[in-house]
Amino acid sequence: MAENLIDAHNLSRSFGGRPAVRNLDLTLERGEILGFLGLNGAGKSTTLRMLAGTLAPTAGRITIAGIDLLNAPKSAKRKLGYLPEQPPLHPELTVSEYLRFCAEIHGVPRARVRSVVQGAQEKTGLEEVERRLIRNLSKGYQQRVGIAQAILHDPEVLLLDEPTVGLDPAQIQDIRMLIRSLGEAHSVVFSSHLLSEVQSLATRVVIIHEGRLAWSRPLTATPPDRLAASYRVGLRKASAPEQMVERTGAREVAPLGEGWFRIRPPENAAADFPELFLDRAVREGWAPFGFVAEETSLETIFLELTRGEPPTPTEAVA
Protein backbone atom coordinates (compact mmCIF):
# COMPACT_ATOMS: atom_id res chain seq x y z
CA MET A 1 0.00 0.00 0.00
CA ALA A 2 2.90 2.32 0.71
CA GLU A 3 4.01 2.01 -2.87
CA ASN A 4 0.67 3.06 -4.32
CA LEU A 5 0.54 6.74 -5.07
CA ILE A 6 -3.22 6.76 -5.28
CA ASP A 7 -5.45 4.43 -3.36
CA ALA A 8 -9.13 5.07 -3.82
CA HIS A 9 -11.64 2.82 -2.14
CA ASN A 10 -15.28 2.51 -2.82
CA LEU A 11 -15.60 6.02 -4.24
CA SER A 12 -19.13 7.19 -4.91
CA ARG A 13 -20.52 10.51 -5.94
CA SER A 14 -23.99 11.52 -6.83
CA PHE A 15 -25.35 14.82 -8.08
CA GLY A 16 -28.84 15.58 -6.92
CA GLY A 17 -29.55 11.91 -6.20
CA ARG A 18 -28.31 10.79 -9.61
CA PRO A 19 -25.17 8.70 -9.16
CA ALA A 20 -22.23 9.82 -11.30
CA VAL A 21 -19.61 7.48 -9.86
CA ARG A 22 -20.45 4.24 -8.10
CA ASN A 23 -18.23 2.18 -5.79
CA LEU A 24 -15.08 2.79 -7.74
CA ASP A 25 -11.80 1.27 -6.58
CA LEU A 26 -8.65 2.61 -8.12
CA THR A 27 -4.93 2.45 -7.59
CA LEU A 28 -2.01 4.15 -9.21
CA GLU A 29 1.46 2.71 -8.85
CA ARG A 30 4.68 4.63 -9.11
CA GLY A 31 5.76 5.11 -12.71
CA GLU A 32 2.42 4.24 -14.23
CA ILE A 33 0.58 6.23 -16.86
CA LEU A 34 -3.04 5.44 -16.31
CA GLY A 35 -5.52 6.16 -19.07
CA PHE A 36 -9.16 6.71 -18.16
CA LEU A 37 -11.34 5.75 -21.05
CA GLY A 38 -15.05 6.30 -21.22
CA LEU A 39 -17.87 7.86 -23.16
CA ASN A 40 -18.75 11.46 -22.45
CA GLY A 41 -20.51 11.62 -19.13
CA ALA A 42 -19.19 8.27 -17.94
CA GLY A 43 -17.81 9.81 -14.75
CA LYS A 44 -14.18 10.40 -15.74
CA SER A 45 -14.11 14.06 -14.80
CA THR A 46 -16.01 13.49 -11.59
CA THR A 47 -13.50 10.81 -10.57
CA LEU A 48 -10.55 13.05 -11.38
CA ARG A 49 -12.07 15.95 -9.47
CA MET A 50 -12.47 13.73 -6.45
CA LEU A 51 -8.87 12.54 -6.74
CA ALA A 52 -7.73 16.16 -7.02
CA GLY A 53 -9.64 17.07 -3.88
CA THR A 54 -11.83 19.70 -5.51
CA LEU A 55 -14.97 17.63 -5.11
CA ALA A 56 -15.80 15.70 -1.97
CA PRO A 57 -16.94 12.14 -2.57
CA THR A 58 -20.36 11.11 -1.25
CA ALA A 59 -18.71 7.99 0.11
CA GLY A 60 -15.32 6.38 -0.03
CA ARG A 61 -11.73 7.02 0.91
CA ILE A 62 -8.77 8.40 -1.02
CA THR A 63 -5.12 8.36 -0.01
CA ILE A 64 -2.43 10.13 -1.97
CA ALA A 65 1.04 8.70 -1.33
CA GLY A 66 -0.25 7.37 1.96
CA ILE A 67 -1.87 10.66 3.07
CA ASP A 68 -5.62 10.78 3.51
CA LEU A 69 -6.95 13.39 1.10
CA LEU A 70 -10.09 14.07 3.08
CA ASN A 71 -8.47 14.35 6.50
CA ALA A 72 -5.25 16.12 5.55
CA PRO A 73 -6.09 17.88 2.30
CA LYS A 74 -3.29 20.42 2.54
CA SER A 75 -0.42 17.96 2.68
CA ALA A 76 -2.04 15.53 0.25
CA LYS A 77 -2.63 18.25 -2.33
CA ARG A 78 1.05 19.16 -2.26
CA LYS A 79 1.69 15.83 -3.95
CA LEU A 80 -0.83 16.48 -6.69
CA GLY A 81 -0.76 18.42 -9.91
CA TYR A 82 -4.13 18.81 -11.54
CA LEU A 83 -5.24 20.04 -14.93
CA PRO A 84 -9.04 20.36 -14.99
CA GLU A 85 -11.04 19.82 -18.14
CA GLN A 86 -10.98 23.55 -18.78
CA PRO A 87 -7.50 24.87 -17.94
CA PRO A 88 -7.86 27.31 -15.01
CA LEU A 89 -6.07 30.26 -16.59
CA HIS A 90 -6.16 33.95 -15.76
CA PRO A 91 -6.25 35.55 -19.21
CA GLU A 92 -5.18 38.97 -17.94
CA LEU A 93 -1.81 37.71 -16.70
CA THR A 94 1.29 36.87 -18.70
CA VAL A 95 2.47 33.28 -18.80
CA SER A 96 5.30 33.80 -16.33
CA GLU A 97 3.19 35.94 -13.97
CA TYR A 98 0.55 33.26 -13.94
CA LEU A 99 3.03 30.46 -13.31
CA ARG A 100 4.69 32.44 -10.54
CA PHE A 101 1.30 32.84 -8.89
CA CYS A 102 0.62 29.11 -9.21
CA ALA A 103 4.02 28.29 -7.72
CA GLU A 104 3.34 30.56 -4.76
CA ILE A 105 -0.07 29.14 -3.94
CA HIS A 106 1.40 25.65 -4.16
CA GLY A 107 3.79 26.59 -1.41
CA VAL A 108 7.00 26.70 -3.44
CA PRO A 109 9.53 28.61 -1.29
CA ARG A 110 10.01 32.17 -2.55
CA ALA A 111 13.69 31.65 -3.34
CA ARG A 112 12.89 28.77 -5.65
CA VAL A 113 9.89 30.24 -7.46
CA ARG A 114 11.93 31.71 -10.30
CA SER A 115 13.84 28.52 -11.07
CA VAL A 116 10.74 26.37 -10.75
CA VAL A 117 8.82 28.55 -13.20
CA GLN A 118 11.77 28.52 -15.56
CA GLY A 119 11.96 24.74 -15.38
CA ALA A 120 8.26 24.22 -16.06
CA GLN A 121 8.40 26.62 -19.00
CA GLU A 122 11.30 24.70 -20.47
CA LYS A 123 9.60 21.35 -20.08
CA THR A 124 6.43 22.55 -21.75
CA GLY A 125 8.09 24.68 -24.43
CA LEU A 126 6.72 28.01 -23.22
CA GLU A 127 9.93 30.05 -23.09
CA GLU A 128 9.22 32.11 -26.21
CA VAL A 129 5.76 33.13 -25.01
CA GLU A 130 6.52 33.74 -21.32
CA ARG A 131 5.95 37.49 -21.64
CA ARG A 132 2.71 37.24 -23.57
CA LEU A 133 -0.73 37.57 -22.09
CA ILE A 134 -2.44 34.22 -21.76
CA ARG A 135 -5.49 35.76 -23.42
CA ASN A 136 -3.55 36.08 -26.69
CA LEU A 137 -2.18 32.54 -26.82
CA SER A 138 -3.51 29.81 -29.09
CA LYS A 139 -5.49 27.00 -27.53
CA GLY A 140 -2.54 24.63 -27.80
CA TYR A 141 -0.29 27.01 -25.90
CA GLN A 142 -2.99 27.66 -23.32
CA GLN A 143 -3.19 23.92 -22.76
CA ARG A 144 0.56 23.86 -22.26
CA VAL A 145 0.27 26.61 -19.68
CA GLY A 146 -2.33 24.48 -17.95
CA ILE A 147 0.04 21.53 -17.91
CA ALA A 148 2.96 23.73 -16.80
CA GLN A 149 0.80 24.86 -13.88
CA ALA A 150 0.23 21.23 -12.89
CA ILE A 151 3.91 20.20 -12.91
CA LEU A 152 5.38 23.34 -11.32
CA HIS A 153 5.73 22.07 -7.80
CA ASP A 154 7.09 18.74 -9.00
CA PRO A 155 4.14 16.67 -7.78
CA GLU A 156 4.37 12.92 -7.58
CA VAL A 157 1.00 12.47 -9.21
CA LEU A 158 -0.31 14.31 -12.24
CA LEU A 159 -4.03 14.33 -12.96
CA LEU A 160 -4.85 15.51 -16.46
CA ASP A 161 -8.47 15.75 -17.50
CA GLU A 162 -8.85 15.43 -21.28
CA PRO A 163 -5.53 17.11 -21.98
CA THR A 164 -5.87 17.02 -25.77
CA VAL A 165 -9.50 17.90 -26.26
CA GLY A 166 -10.16 20.73 -28.70
CA LEU A 167 -6.64 20.84 -30.11
CA ASP A 168 -5.59 20.43 -33.73
CA PRO A 169 -3.76 17.26 -34.78
CA ALA A 170 -0.29 18.82 -34.59
CA GLN A 171 -0.98 20.21 -31.12
CA ILE A 172 -2.40 16.86 -30.02
CA GLN A 173 0.82 15.21 -31.14
CA ASP A 174 2.87 17.77 -29.17
CA ILE A 175 0.85 17.37 -26.00
CA ARG A 176 1.06 13.58 -26.24
CA MET A 177 4.82 13.74 -26.54
CA LEU A 178 4.86 16.05 -23.56
CA ILE A 179 2.73 13.68 -21.48
CA ARG A 180 4.95 10.77 -22.46
CA SER A 181 8.04 12.64 -21.32
CA LEU A 182 6.30 13.70 -18.09
CA GLY A 183 5.50 10.06 -17.47
CA GLU A 184 9.19 9.43 -16.96
CA ALA A 185 9.39 11.60 -13.84
CA HIS A 186 5.81 11.55 -12.56
CA SER A 187 2.98 9.10 -12.31
CA VAL A 188 0.15 10.26 -14.50
CA VAL A 189 -3.58 9.74 -14.64
CA PHE A 190 -5.23 11.17 -17.72
CA SER A 191 -8.67 10.84 -19.17
CA SER A 192 -9.73 10.68 -22.76
CA HIS A 193 -12.58 9.51 -24.88
CA LEU A 194 -10.18 8.63 -27.67
CA LEU A 195 -9.10 5.01 -27.83
CA SER A 196 -6.03 5.71 -29.91
CA GLU A 197 -4.80 8.23 -27.40
CA VAL A 198 -5.08 5.90 -24.46
CA GLN A 199 -3.53 3.13 -26.50
CA SER A 200 -0.52 5.20 -27.49
CA LEU A 201 0.15 6.79 -24.08
CA ALA A 202 -1.06 4.66 -21.22
CA THR A 203 0.69 1.78 -19.53
CA ARG A 204 -2.61 0.76 -18.01
CA VAL A 205 -6.11 1.44 -19.13
CA VAL A 206 -9.19 1.83 -17.00
CA ILE A 207 -12.54 1.87 -18.73
CA ILE A 208 -15.25 3.72 -16.85
CA HIS A 209 -18.81 3.19 -17.87
CA GLU A 210 -21.84 4.71 -16.20
CA GLY A 211 -19.79 5.60 -13.16
CA ARG A 212 -18.41 2.12 -12.64
CA LEU A 213 -14.99 0.77 -13.25
CA ALA A 214 -15.73 -1.61 -16.09
CA TRP A 215 -12.28 -2.84 -17.04
CA SER A 216 -8.74 -2.31 -15.87
CA ARG A 217 -5.67 -3.93 -17.30
CA PRO A 218 -2.08 -3.16 -18.24
CA LEU A 219 -1.63 -2.29 -21.89
CA THR A 220 1.18 -3.97 -23.69
CA ALA A 221 1.68 -4.18 -27.41
CA THR A 222 1.69 -7.69 -28.86
CA PRO A 223 5.30 -8.82 -28.81
CA PRO A 224 6.67 -10.50 -31.99
CA ASP A 225 6.67 -13.96 -30.41
CA ARG A 226 2.97 -13.87 -29.63
CA LEU A 227 -0.10 -13.85 -31.73
CA ALA A 228 -2.52 -10.97 -31.82
CA ALA A 229 -6.19 -11.79 -31.29
CA SER A 230 -6.90 -11.07 -34.91
CA TYR A 231 -5.35 -9.69 -38.08
CA ARG A 232 -6.68 -7.52 -40.78
CA VAL A 233 -5.54 -8.50 -44.24
CA GLY A 234 -6.19 -6.85 -47.59
CA LEU A 235 -6.47 -9.20 -50.56
CA ARG A 236 -7.01 -7.95 -54.07
CA LYS A 237 -8.09 -11.26 -55.57
CA ALA A 238 -9.54 -13.12 -52.62
CA SER A 239 -11.54 -16.29 -53.02
CA ALA A 240 -14.58 -17.19 -50.94
CA PRO A 241 -14.03 -16.93 -47.15
CA GLU A 242 -14.91 -20.62 -46.59
CA GLN A 243 -12.29 -21.59 -49.08
CA MET A 244 -9.71 -19.37 -47.40
CA VAL A 245 -10.47 -20.90 -44.02
CA GLU A 246 -9.94 -24.29 -45.52
CA ARG A 247 -6.67 -23.41 -47.24
CA THR A 248 -4.98 -21.50 -44.40
CA GLY A 249 -6.32 -23.22 -41.32
CA ALA A 250 -7.60 -19.90 -39.90
CA ARG A 251 -10.38 -20.12 -37.35
CA GLU A 252 -12.43 -17.46 -39.05
CA VAL A 253 -12.22 -15.21 -42.09
CA ALA A 254 -14.72 -12.39 -42.14
CA PRO A 255 -14.98 -9.97 -45.06
CA LEU A 256 -14.84 -6.30 -44.04
CA GLY A 257 -15.40 -4.82 -47.52
CA GLU A 258 -13.10 -3.25 -50.10
CA GLY A 259 -10.84 -6.28 -50.14
CA TRP A 260 -10.21 -6.32 -46.39
CA PHE A 261 -10.77 -9.39 -44.21
CA ARG A 262 -10.47 -10.04 -40.51
CA ILE A 263 -8.80 -13.37 -39.81
CA ARG A 264 -8.53 -15.08 -36.47
CA PRO A 265 -5.76 -17.60 -35.89
CA PRO A 266 -6.84 -21.05 -34.62
CA GLU A 267 -6.71 -21.70 -30.87
CA ASN A 268 -3.39 -23.46 -30.81
CA ALA A 269 -1.69 -21.73 -33.71
CA ALA A 270 2.08 -21.32 -33.63
CA ALA A 271 3.68 -17.88 -33.54
CA ASP A 272 4.52 -18.11 -37.23
CA PHE A 273 0.85 -18.16 -38.23
CA PRO A 274 1.05 -14.72 -39.93
CA GLU A 275 4.02 -15.81 -42.02
CA LEU A 276 2.34 -19.01 -43.11
CA PHE A 277 -0.87 -17.19 -43.88
CA LEU A 278 0.82 -14.64 -46.11
CA ASP A 279 2.93 -17.29 -47.78
CA ARG A 280 -0.22 -19.21 -48.57
CA ALA A 281 -1.98 -16.08 -49.80
CA VAL A 282 0.80 -15.35 -52.25
CA ARG A 283 0.91 -18.89 -53.55
CA GLU A 284 -2.87 -19.01 -53.98
CA GLY A 285 -2.65 -15.79 -55.98
CA TRP A 286 -4.90 -13.75 -53.62
CA ALA A 287 -2.59 -10.76 -54.14
CA PRO A 288 -2.20 -9.44 -50.55
CA PHE A 289 -1.79 -5.67 -50.32
CA GLY A 290 -2.03 -5.03 -46.59
CA PHE A 291 -1.60 -6.79 -43.27
CA VAL A 292 -2.26 -5.40 -39.78
CA ALA A 293 -2.05 -7.09 -36.42
CA GLU A 294 -5.05 -6.01 -34.35
CA GLU A 295 -3.67 -5.16 -30.93
CA THR A 296 -5.23 -6.47 -27.74
CA SER A 297 -8.54 -5.49 -29.33
CA LEU A 298 -9.21 -2.73 -26.81
CA GLU A 299 -11.66 -1.28 -29.26
CA THR A 300 -13.80 -4.39 -29.15
CA ILE A 301 -13.71 -4.46 -25.37
CA PHE A 302 -14.55 -0.78 -25.15
CA LEU A 303 -17.47 -1.04 -27.53
CA GLU A 304 -18.83 -4.15 -25.87
CA LEU A 305 -18.58 -2.59 -22.43
CA THR A 306 -20.21 0.65 -23.43
CA ARG A 307 -22.97 -0.73 -25.61
CA GLY A 308 -25.40 -1.14 -22.81
CA GLU A 309 -24.73 -4.80 -22.05
CA PRO A 310 -24.15 -5.30 -18.35
CA PRO A 311 -20.43 -4.89 -17.72
CA THR A 312 -18.65 -8.18 -17.35
CA PRO A 313 -17.24 -8.81 -13.89
CA THR A 314 -13.96 -6.99 -13.56
CA GLU A 315 -10.65 -8.49 -12.85
CA ALA A 316 -9.56 -7.12 -9.49
CA VAL A 317 -7.42 -4.04 -9.88
CA ALA A 318 -3.81 -5.04 -9.65
Binding site: F15, G16, R49, A52, G53, T54, L55, A56, P73, K74, S75, K77, R78, L80, Y82, P84, Q86, P88, L89, H90, P91, E92, L93, E97, F101, C102, E104, I105, H106, G107, Q149
Partner: protein, 250 residues
Amino acid sequence: MIRALAKRELRSLFASPLAWVILAVVTLILGWIFLLQVDLFLRIMPRLALYRHGAGVTALVVMPLFHSAIVILLLVIPLLTMRLVSEERRQKTLELLYAAPLSTLDLVCGKYLGILGFLGTLLFLIFLMPLSLELGTHLDWGLVASGLLGLFLVMAAFAAAGLYLSSLTEQPIVAAISTFGLLLFLWIIAWAAKGHGPGSHILRYASLLNHFSAFGRGEVRVSDVAYYLIFSLVFLVLTGRRFDADHLEH
Protein backbone atom coordinates in the same frame (compact mmCIF):
# COMPACT_ATOMS: atom_id res chain seq x y z
CA MET B 1 0.23 32.05 0.22
CA ILE B 2 -2.34 34.58 1.39
CA ARG B 3 0.07 37.21 0.10
CA ALA B 4 0.26 35.53 -3.29
CA LEU B 5 -3.52 35.44 -3.53
CA ALA B 6 -3.91 39.07 -2.50
CA LYS B 7 -1.17 40.16 -4.89
CA ARG B 8 -2.80 38.32 -7.80
CA GLU B 9 -6.15 39.88 -6.95
CA LEU B 10 -4.65 43.37 -6.98
CA ARG B 11 -2.79 42.73 -10.20
CA SER B 12 -5.94 41.48 -11.92
CA LEU B 13 -7.87 44.50 -10.66
CA PHE B 14 -5.28 46.87 -12.01
CA ALA B 15 -5.07 44.91 -15.27
CA SER B 16 -8.69 45.83 -15.98
CA PRO B 17 -9.72 49.31 -17.05
CA LEU B 18 -12.55 49.16 -14.54
CA ALA B 19 -10.26 49.79 -11.56
CA TRP B 20 -8.58 52.76 -13.21
CA VAL B 21 -11.85 54.26 -14.33
CA ILE B 22 -13.24 53.92 -10.84
CA LEU B 23 -10.19 55.56 -9.28
CA ALA B 24 -10.42 58.39 -11.78
CA VAL B 25 -14.15 58.95 -11.42
CA VAL B 26 -14.09 58.83 -7.61
CA THR B 27 -11.18 61.26 -7.46
CA LEU B 28 -12.84 63.61 -9.93
CA ILE B 29 -16.17 63.70 -8.14
CA LEU B 30 -14.72 63.94 -4.65
CA GLY B 31 -12.28 66.57 -5.88
CA TRP B 32 -15.21 68.62 -7.11
CA ILE B 33 -17.08 68.23 -3.84
CA PHE B 34 -13.91 69.12 -1.97
CA LEU B 35 -13.49 72.33 -3.97
CA LEU B 36 -17.12 73.28 -3.36
CA GLN B 37 -16.61 72.78 0.37
CA VAL B 38 -13.42 74.82 0.37
CA ASP B 39 -15.23 77.56 -1.53
CA LEU B 40 -18.11 77.51 0.93
CA PHE B 41 -15.67 77.62 3.82
CA LEU B 42 -13.87 80.66 2.40
CA ARG B 43 -17.18 82.51 2.03
CA ILE B 44 -18.35 81.88 5.60
CA MET B 45 -14.92 82.17 7.20
CA PRO B 46 -15.25 85.86 8.18
CA ARG B 47 -18.45 85.12 10.07
CA LEU B 48 -16.90 82.07 11.76
CA ALA B 49 -14.20 84.23 13.22
CA LEU B 50 -16.87 85.85 15.42
CA TYR B 51 -17.36 82.62 17.38
CA ARG B 52 -14.65 81.57 19.77
CA HIS B 53 -15.52 77.89 19.65
CA GLY B 54 -16.81 77.72 16.10
CA ALA B 55 -16.25 74.73 13.86
CA GLY B 56 -12.90 74.67 12.06
CA VAL B 57 -11.85 73.76 8.58
CA THR B 58 -11.64 70.05 9.41
CA ALA B 59 -15.24 69.85 10.50
CA LEU B 60 -16.54 72.05 7.73
CA VAL B 61 -14.51 70.75 4.77
CA VAL B 62 -12.99 67.37 5.55
CA MET B 63 -15.91 65.69 7.29
CA PRO B 64 -18.48 66.58 4.61
CA LEU B 65 -15.98 65.23 2.12
CA PHE B 66 -15.80 61.94 3.99
CA HIS B 67 -19.58 61.77 4.19
CA SER B 68 -19.83 62.25 0.44
CA ALA B 69 -17.13 59.66 -0.03
CA ILE B 70 -19.30 57.07 1.69
CA VAL B 71 -22.18 57.71 -0.70
CA ILE B 72 -19.83 57.29 -3.64
CA LEU B 73 -18.30 54.16 -2.15
CA LEU B 74 -21.78 52.72 -1.82
CA LEU B 75 -22.09 53.03 -5.59
CA VAL B 76 -18.56 52.01 -6.46
CA ILE B 77 -17.57 49.16 -4.14
CA PRO B 78 -20.17 46.75 -5.54
CA LEU B 79 -18.54 47.29 -8.94
CA LEU B 80 -15.13 46.51 -7.52
CA THR B 81 -16.13 43.43 -5.60
CA MET B 82 -18.50 41.97 -8.17
CA ARG B 83 -15.82 40.02 -10.01
CA LEU B 84 -13.85 38.79 -6.99
CA VAL B 85 -15.24 35.27 -7.05
CA SER B 86 -17.90 35.26 -9.75
CA GLU B 87 -15.34 35.86 -12.47
CA GLU B 88 -13.25 32.95 -11.21
CA ARG B 89 -16.32 30.80 -11.10
CA ARG B 90 -17.15 31.70 -14.67
CA GLN B 91 -13.61 31.13 -15.94
CA LYS B 92 -13.36 27.90 -13.91
CA THR B 93 -10.21 29.17 -12.21
CA LEU B 94 -11.64 28.38 -8.79
CA GLU B 95 -10.62 24.79 -9.49
CA LEU B 96 -7.02 25.96 -9.42
CA LEU B 97 -7.46 27.36 -5.92
CA TYR B 98 -9.39 24.34 -4.69
CA ALA B 99 -6.75 21.95 -6.02
CA ALA B 100 -3.91 23.93 -4.43
CA PRO B 101 -2.87 23.25 -0.84
CA LEU B 102 -4.84 26.21 0.50
CA SER B 103 -7.29 26.23 3.37
CA THR B 104 -10.61 28.01 3.17
CA LEU B 105 -9.22 30.60 5.57
CA ASP B 106 -6.30 31.29 3.21
CA LEU B 107 -8.70 31.69 0.32
CA VAL B 108 -11.04 34.11 2.08
CA CYS B 109 -8.20 36.15 3.59
CA GLY B 110 -6.32 36.32 0.29
CA LYS B 111 -9.34 37.57 -1.61
CA TYR B 112 -10.34 40.00 1.10
CA LEU B 113 -6.88 41.46 1.61
CA GLY B 114 -6.56 41.89 -2.15
CA ILE B 115 -9.64 44.06 -2.35
CA LEU B 116 -8.72 45.88 0.87
CA GLY B 117 -5.38 46.71 -0.72
CA PHE B 118 -7.17 48.37 -3.59
CA LEU B 119 -9.55 50.21 -1.27
CA GLY B 120 -6.52 51.34 0.74
CA THR B 121 -5.21 52.99 -2.41
CA LEU B 122 -8.55 54.67 -2.92
CA LEU B 123 -8.58 55.84 0.70
CA PHE B 124 -5.10 57.26 0.27
CA LEU B 125 -6.21 59.25 -2.78
CA ILE B 126 -9.15 60.62 -0.81
CA PHE B 127 -6.84 61.47 2.08
CA LEU B 128 -4.58 63.52 -0.21
CA MET B 129 -7.32 66.15 -0.56
CA PRO B 130 -7.51 67.20 3.10
CA LEU B 131 -3.74 66.81 3.30
CA SER B 132 -3.40 69.56 0.68
CA LEU B 133 -5.15 71.95 3.10
CA GLU B 134 -2.22 71.57 5.43
CA LEU B 135 -0.35 73.85 3.00
CA GLY B 136 -2.44 76.84 4.05
CA THR B 137 -3.91 76.01 7.41
CA HIS B 138 -3.79 73.59 10.31
CA LEU B 139 -5.98 70.55 10.44
CA ASP B 140 -7.45 68.86 13.46
CA TRP B 141 -5.53 65.62 13.02
CA GLY B 142 -7.47 63.76 15.66
CA LEU B 143 -10.68 64.42 13.79
CA VAL B 144 -9.13 63.49 10.45
CA ALA B 145 -7.76 60.24 11.88
CA SER B 146 -11.11 59.28 13.36
CA GLY B 147 -12.79 60.10 10.04
CA LEU B 148 -10.27 58.02 8.11
CA LEU B 149 -10.68 55.09 10.48
CA GLY B 150 -14.44 55.29 10.10
CA LEU B 151 -14.15 55.48 6.35
CA PHE B 152 -11.86 52.50 6.26
CA LEU B 153 -14.18 50.43 8.45
CA VAL B 154 -17.11 51.31 6.20
CA MET B 155 -15.08 50.26 3.17
CA ALA B 156 -14.09 47.00 4.84
CA ALA B 157 -17.72 46.25 5.68
CA PHE B 158 -18.92 47.06 2.15
CA ALA B 159 -16.16 44.91 0.66
CA ALA B 160 -16.94 41.91 2.87
CA ALA B 161 -20.59 42.02 1.84
CA GLY B 162 -19.54 42.39 -1.80
CA LEU B 163 -17.14 39.45 -1.53
CA TYR B 164 -19.85 37.20 -0.16
CA LEU B 165 -22.43 38.12 -2.76
CA SER B 166 -19.82 37.67 -5.48
CA SER B 167 -19.15 34.15 -4.25
CA LEU B 168 -22.79 33.22 -4.76
CA THR B 169 -23.08 33.74 -8.48
CA GLU B 170 -21.35 33.33 -11.81
CA GLN B 171 -22.61 36.65 -13.10
CA PRO B 172 -20.63 39.68 -11.90
CA ILE B 173 -23.51 42.00 -12.65
CA VAL B 174 -25.84 40.01 -10.41
CA ALA B 175 -23.27 40.27 -7.64
CA ALA B 176 -22.96 44.02 -8.16
CA ILE B 177 -26.68 44.68 -8.09
CA SER B 178 -27.34 42.50 -5.08
CA THR B 179 -24.44 44.06 -3.17
CA PHE B 180 -25.69 47.52 -4.01
CA GLY B 181 -29.20 46.54 -2.99
CA LEU B 182 -28.08 45.07 0.31
CA LEU B 183 -25.89 48.02 1.23
CA LEU B 184 -28.51 50.56 0.25
CA PHE B 185 -31.13 48.69 2.24
CA LEU B 186 -28.93 48.62 5.33
CA TRP B 187 -28.35 52.30 4.71
CA ILE B 188 -31.98 53.37 4.65
CA ILE B 189 -33.21 50.85 7.19
CA ALA B 190 -33.05 53.55 9.86
CA TRP B 191 -35.54 55.70 7.97
CA ALA B 192 -38.25 53.51 9.37
CA ALA B 193 -37.07 54.25 12.88
CA LYS B 194 -38.94 57.47 13.40
CA GLY B 195 -39.74 58.41 16.94
CA HIS B 196 -39.55 55.82 19.68
CA GLY B 197 -41.70 53.01 18.36
CA PRO B 198 -40.94 49.45 19.45
CA GLY B 199 -37.82 48.12 17.76
CA SER B 200 -36.85 51.46 16.35
CA HIS B 201 -33.56 51.41 18.23
CA ILE B 202 -32.82 48.03 16.63
CA LEU B 203 -33.39 49.49 13.19
CA ARG B 204 -31.24 52.43 14.08
CA TYR B 205 -28.53 50.13 15.35
CA ALA B 206 -28.62 48.01 12.19
CA SER B 207 -28.08 50.99 9.92
CA LEU B 208 -24.67 51.17 8.28
CA LEU B 209 -24.81 54.94 8.15
CA ASN B 210 -25.64 55.69 11.78
CA HIS B 211 -22.43 54.10 12.99
CA PHE B 212 -20.34 56.42 10.90
CA SER B 213 -21.67 59.69 12.27
CA ALA B 214 -19.77 59.41 15.56
CA PHE B 215 -16.49 59.03 13.66
CA GLY B 216 -17.42 62.22 11.83
CA ARG B 217 -17.58 64.02 15.18
CA GLY B 218 -14.21 62.64 16.21
CA GLU B 219 -15.60 60.00 18.54
CA VAL B 220 -14.19 56.51 18.15
CA ARG B 221 -16.67 54.35 20.00
CA VAL B 222 -16.02 50.67 20.63
CA SER B 223 -19.62 49.86 19.74
CA ASP B 224 -19.23 51.42 16.29
CA VAL B 225 -15.89 49.78 15.61
CA ALA B 226 -17.32 46.46 16.77
CA TYR B 227 -20.36 46.90 14.54
CA TYR B 228 -18.25 47.21 11.40
CA LEU B 229 -15.84 44.45 12.41
CA ILE B 230 -18.64 42.03 13.22
CA PHE B 231 -20.47 42.99 10.04
CA SER B 232 -17.33 42.20 8.01
CA LEU B 233 -16.57 39.04 9.91
CA VAL B 234 -20.06 37.65 9.38
CA PHE B 235 -19.79 38.06 5.64
CA LEU B 236 -16.27 36.60 5.56
CA VAL B 237 -17.43 33.54 7.46
CA LEU B 238 -20.36 33.18 5.07
CA THR B 239 -17.94 33.42 2.14
CA GLY B 240 -15.84 30.65 3.66
CA ARG B 241 -18.93 28.51 4.05
CA ARG B 242 -19.76 29.11 0.41
CA PHE B 243 -16.27 27.98 -0.64
CA ASP B 244 -16.61 24.84 1.45
CA ALA B 245 -19.99 24.13 -0.07
CA ASP B 246 -18.44 24.11 -3.54
CA HIS B 247 -16.73 20.83 -2.70
CA LEU B 248 -20.09 19.38 -1.84
CA GLU B 249 -21.93 20.77 -4.86
CA HIS B 250 -25.59 19.65 -5.22
